[in-house]
Symmetry: C2
Subunit: 254 residues, 2 copies
DNA sequence: GCAAAAGTGTTAGCTATACACCCATGT
DNA sequence: ACATGGGTGTATAGCTAACACTTTTGC
């Protein structure tokens, strides 16, 4: 076994780890960042272990930074997955084969097939700013459309499902968008974000009225040109008011 | 060390455990069930370890049953506490002294002072039905008024605080009361429950109108007598409709 | 009879929703 | 010119919130 891997395993918690559902928004689609395990066609959520002297939250920030290059973004725990058997999507044999391909034969029975509990974190990131970077145990790190996510290793499909539910719920008592949209965006873009997350159509006029009523947006004098239609105004979030709204928990009725 | 204790420690997860904030409601006060550690004056939340072949949720149900005698009640995960140092309320020396008093000198450094992550569960139970039962490591198990909870071991004061926040939030999109009140109760009793949890006064007429509008209550022909005032009607929850409301997530506007 | 607490209905203001026409832009 | 999508206001219904007097009961 690689001595660096050995050291990593020895300096981290063994029974509990972290998995991150990282949401991005691009071209009107909600996306999620996935990793392909070395030498396999199997995908999973980005995850990692917690160093002994590090809090779970710190570990989540670190993992997110390692995979996306970003920090200081929306990141929060949403559920801890503690089932005794979290390997439901594949038979034990299939899974062992995958893990052997990635880690070598001396690894899986020692460390990975044992009981493991995972703390699920959810992150919202600006798609364009992400530099998707694979792990030491993965070949590829890329965005998948939420509706096209393949069958993932472990219980990671459940995790995405649960994260999405938590995100939808969040939406109803906190503003969302600051970490998912570029600095400047149009009202229709913001609306499409909401429509995508909630998976339902909203009325343009009512949506705009509602968003403006929260007093967290600043209308810019510029417009976005380039389409064969009337140029929409650009907006940006007033970060101070936005943070206050998150703190105080505005009631978003979308 | 007690061989049964040794066996328990060997057949459970070491790095992650469970703590339960068990809420009860009695005499117009919200209460929480606490344990006093053997040979000490130190209190903590009821908690326990997860058996290797058991899910975290199953462990929580088991722990709750062991401490209260109840099962099939409202119980849910609300947060996982993953700070690197969760012993903030006492100095290491004080804590070691407490743990030595309870477990003997050969225990704490071996098992307990190591890094530990705790999954926080919250339960709502019918006060009158609880048979509060101490642990093998505790002398006493009893209810404390939420406002009179002493400084607890580890980060358990934070846990109660966080559980209470989660409970308040829950209140706004799900009915609450089935597991906290006796089978039959009056409208003012239900209102006091809500007022206690939310820590604010509500209007009697509006509260009644709202509760009745959810169509989860059944008005009984009986009244509660015994006070020097007009006898209030008794109600009970229509369990079927109540469960449906929980499932569908009614918007409670209190 | 008096104190304590419960029963009950109406109104005003606000919020959510439904809905349609005109305008700017690129092809 | 035309297709595409954006800008904008009003009317209605439903919900929330404020509010007071009468009734029952025990002492």
């Amino acid at each position: 076994m690689d001595p660096r891997l050995k050291k990593y395993l020895e300096s981290t918690l063994k029974e509990v780890s972290i998995d991150c559902t990282i949401f991005g928004f691009h071209a009107g689609e909600l996306k999620v960042l996935l990793l392909r395990w070395k030498g396999t066609d199997s995908w999973s959520l980005p995850g990692g272990r917690i160093f002994l002297e590090e809090s779970a939250n710190e570990a989540a920030v670190r993992i997110l930074r390692e995979r996306t290059g970003l920090q200081e973004i929306f990141l929060q725990q949403f559920y801890t997955f503690g089932a005794a058997n979290r390997y439901k999507n594949f038979s034990p044999d299939e899974l062992i084969k995958t893990l052997e391909l990635t880690f070598g034969e001396d690894f899986f029975d020692e460390k990975l097939m044992k009981r493991n509990i995972s703390i699920g974190y959810m992150a919202l990131v600006e798609f364009e700013q992400v530099v998707a970077t694979p792990d030491w145990y993965t070949d590829e790190c890329r965005w998948w459309e939420i509706s096209a996510v393949p069958t993932l290793l472990f219980d990671h499909n459940d995790m995405i499902e649960t994260a999405l539910k938590a995100l939808r719920q969040q939406l109803s008592y906190q503003p969302i968008g600051y970490n998912l949209l570029p600095e400047k965006f149009t009202m229709p873009e913001l609306q499409r974000l909401y429509e995508t997350i909630l998976d339902k159509q909203l009325d343009r006029r009512n949506f705009q009225k509602l968003m403006l009523s929260y007093d967290i947006l600043e209308k810019l004098p510029e417009k976005r040109t380039g389409g064969a239609f009337k140029a929409p105004f650009l907006y940006k979030f007033d970060k101070e008011k936005y943070d206050r709204a998150i703190q105080e928990g505005i009631t978003f009725k979308v």
